[in-house]
């Protein structure tokens, strides 16, 4: 082998090794530990039963009604927040694109919700926006004759509210990515379509949409991952309540592990979340690969 090539190889390993080592220790090892604990009984409240459990926790999971409910809530939460972000983000991007001046103001404002800590967003909405007879949202619904509502303590409304909060914080992301993607489209295509007298709707569906498809797929990938790991905003707004009306899998795994101190079963739920996340990611990446 050429000595310079050989040396480049050893240099490359030298540079990458520290990171890889840190990742193995800080991520892979804990995940293996998590998988191992999912096959154990680890309950700090009943330590005398601790020990190997086999697939007991997994059998318990499939029989557990709350698990199914949380799983369903996770699907509702993820699908609805991601679709809302895409639809509203696309609408806003198409609107702002047609504004001749000061687009940067809108871009700058859109950054604000994104950079806030989700826990702060959850607290702001819980207090300032949604408190009955105090919050702005409640004030407006009363003003237009829809009345005051227990936004966070009535089960169906609470689910709506946490979806609203997530959508509020992350739609600007979809908006910004779509705006950048729309702004980079070639204008001569549209000129040609205009000459051919294609209607605005046709132009959108046959020219714009196919061209921004890569951006849409990227948004769906990123937003699904974030929605699947959502925790802080819901915790701050409802703690999964009222009852378990907004307890998506993350909050259920949290409650099981840290409030009921049943770490074995909590680990099993977390392994399931991991499996769901990896499956969704794999499917989305395959779609993306096919598209390129």
């Amino acid at each position: 082998m050429n000595p310079s090539v050989k040396q480049e190889k050893s240099f490359a390993i030298m540079l990458a090794a520290p990171s890889v080592l840190v990742l193995i220790i800080t991520t892979t090892f804990p995940i293996l530990y998590l998988i191992w604990s999912s096959f154990q009984n680890i309950n700090l409240a009943m330590p005398m039963n601790d020990g190997f459990a086999g697939i007991e926790n997994y059998i318990e999971m499939f029989k557990d009604k709350q698990y199914w409910k949380s799983f369903r809530l996770t699907i509702i939460y993820t699908v609805s927040t991601v679709s809302l972000q895409l639809l509203i983000g696309l609408g806003l991007a198409l609107l702002i694109l047609r504004i001749p001046k000061a687009q940067w103001v809108f871009r700058l404002m859109a950054i604000l919700p994104i950079v806030l800590a989700p826990v702060v967003v959850g607290l702001f909405w819980r207090t300032l926006m949604l408190t009955p007879d105090f919050g702005i949202v409640d004030f407006f619904t009363q003003a237009i004759g829809l009345g005051s509502h227990a936004w966070l303590s009535e089960p169906k409304l609470a689910l709506f509210s946490v979806i609203l909060i997530h959508t509020w914080q992350w739609t600007p992301f979809a908006f910004l990515v779509l705006l950048a993607s729309l702004a980079s489209l070639p204008s001569d295509l549209y000129e040609a379509a205009k000459i051919d007298r294609a209607s605005a709707i046709k132009r959108f569906f046959y020219i714009t949409l196919p061209l921004i498809r890569p951006a849409i797929i990227i948004i769906v990938i990123m937003r699904s991952m974030i929605a699947l790991s959502a925790y802080a905003a819901i915790y701050a707004a409802t703690r999964g309540g009222p009852g378990t009306a907004t307890e998506i899998l993350n909050l259920y795994a949290y409650r099981t592990s840290f409030l009921e101190v049943n770490f074995g079963y909590g680990s099993t739920l977390a392994v399931f979340i991991l499996v769901v996340t990896v499956s969704v990611a794999t499917v989305l990446y395959l779609i993306r690969k096919k598209n390129n």
């Binding site: 480049e8 990458a16 840190v22 994104i114 806030l116 826990v119 702001f124 990611a281």
Partner: protein, 278 residues
């Protein structure tokens, strides 16, 4: 329709939507400037005598969040520094050098980035507990590396790939000159990328909540936990919460404003490969 009229209608509509959208933030600024009595007025007052008492309390009063701010600063700064030191050489190796098993390693980094935080907080609670590292700075920094390092590596890889190849080809001789190439040719080329990575890493560490609330909380108290003290079952100190939260969010709001254009680029660049995590 006249083009000018159409443009002004669209601008008006967009401005209206935008104002509604950031209403929660605007309102939090209003509330933070109110006295606790004024806050309770319903329907809400837009005109009132503003006071800075809430901000004073959040900095120097009994509800001070200064020590929490310091804790967040320590954790976020060290996490960011370590992340940069590790990720820049790794990204260079992955993006530009003849690294053995490059594809597999890239995939591995991507996979670690996708681990849901709930999958880590449970084992970390048990593992850090065994070492007696719960509620310590080093414990928190180790945990924060789990999401910052994979993200930073991928972000840096995408910036490194943009450098024209001719730049380094000629300089390859021995190990010393390879190190020099990295330090004096490559790193200056990706200054912008390093800045974006720094902002992102710092912001994600600053805003983190799940690990903070479960793995620390007494001796080490990141600022995201402090927010919680203002809202309890017995009472909610609305105005004080707003003031404290706004102070706590100043660093990330500044990051958002100065990094405006880069953040969008960073978000999409990261998105091409994997994606960030909050």
């Amino acid at each position: 329709m006249n083009k000018k009229i159409r443009d002004s209608i669209l601008t008006l509509l967009a401005t209206f939507i935008l104002l509604i959208w950031i209403l929660p933030l605007i309102w939090s600024v209003f509330v933070s400037l109110k006295s606790e009595i004024e806050v309770m007025a319903y329907p809400p007052n837009i005109f009132f005598e503003p006071t800075l008492n809430n901000f004073r309390d959040a900095i120097s009063g009994s509800l001070s969040i200064v020590s929490e701010l310091a804790d967040s600063l320590i954790i976020a700064t060290i996490t960011t520094t370590l992340t940069l030191l590790l990720s820049i050489p790794a990204a260079y190796s992955l993006a530009r050098l003849n690294l053995v098993g490059k594809k597999k390693l890239g995939f591995y980094v991507l996979a670690t980035q996708m681990i849901p935080p709930m999958g880590l907080v449970i084992p970390y609670y048990l593992i850090l507990g065994k070492f007696g590292w719960l509620d310590t700075y080093h414990g928190m920094i180790i945990v924060y590396m789990t999401f910052s390092l994979p993200f930073a590596i991928w972000l840096m890889v995408s910036f490194m790939e943009d450098i024209p190849r001719e730049m380094e080809e000629a300089a390859f001789l021995d190990k010393a000159s390879r190190v020099k190439t990295l330090l004096y040719i490559i790193i200056p080329q990706v200054k912008g990328g390093i800045a974006v990575t720094t902002l992102f890493t710092f912001m994600n560490a600053w805003n983190e909540f799940l690990f903070a609330v479960q793995l620390s909380g007494n001796k080490v108290r990141p600022v995201t936990i402090a927010m919680y003290n203002f809202v309890s079952v017995e009472q909610t100190m609305w105005a004080k919460l707003c003031a404290a939260a706004l102070i706590a969010m100043i660093p990330v709001i500044i990051i958002g404003i100065i990094g405006n254009n880069h953040i969008v680029k960073g978000l999409t660049l990261g998105a091409v490969k994997g994606g960030g995590r909050k």
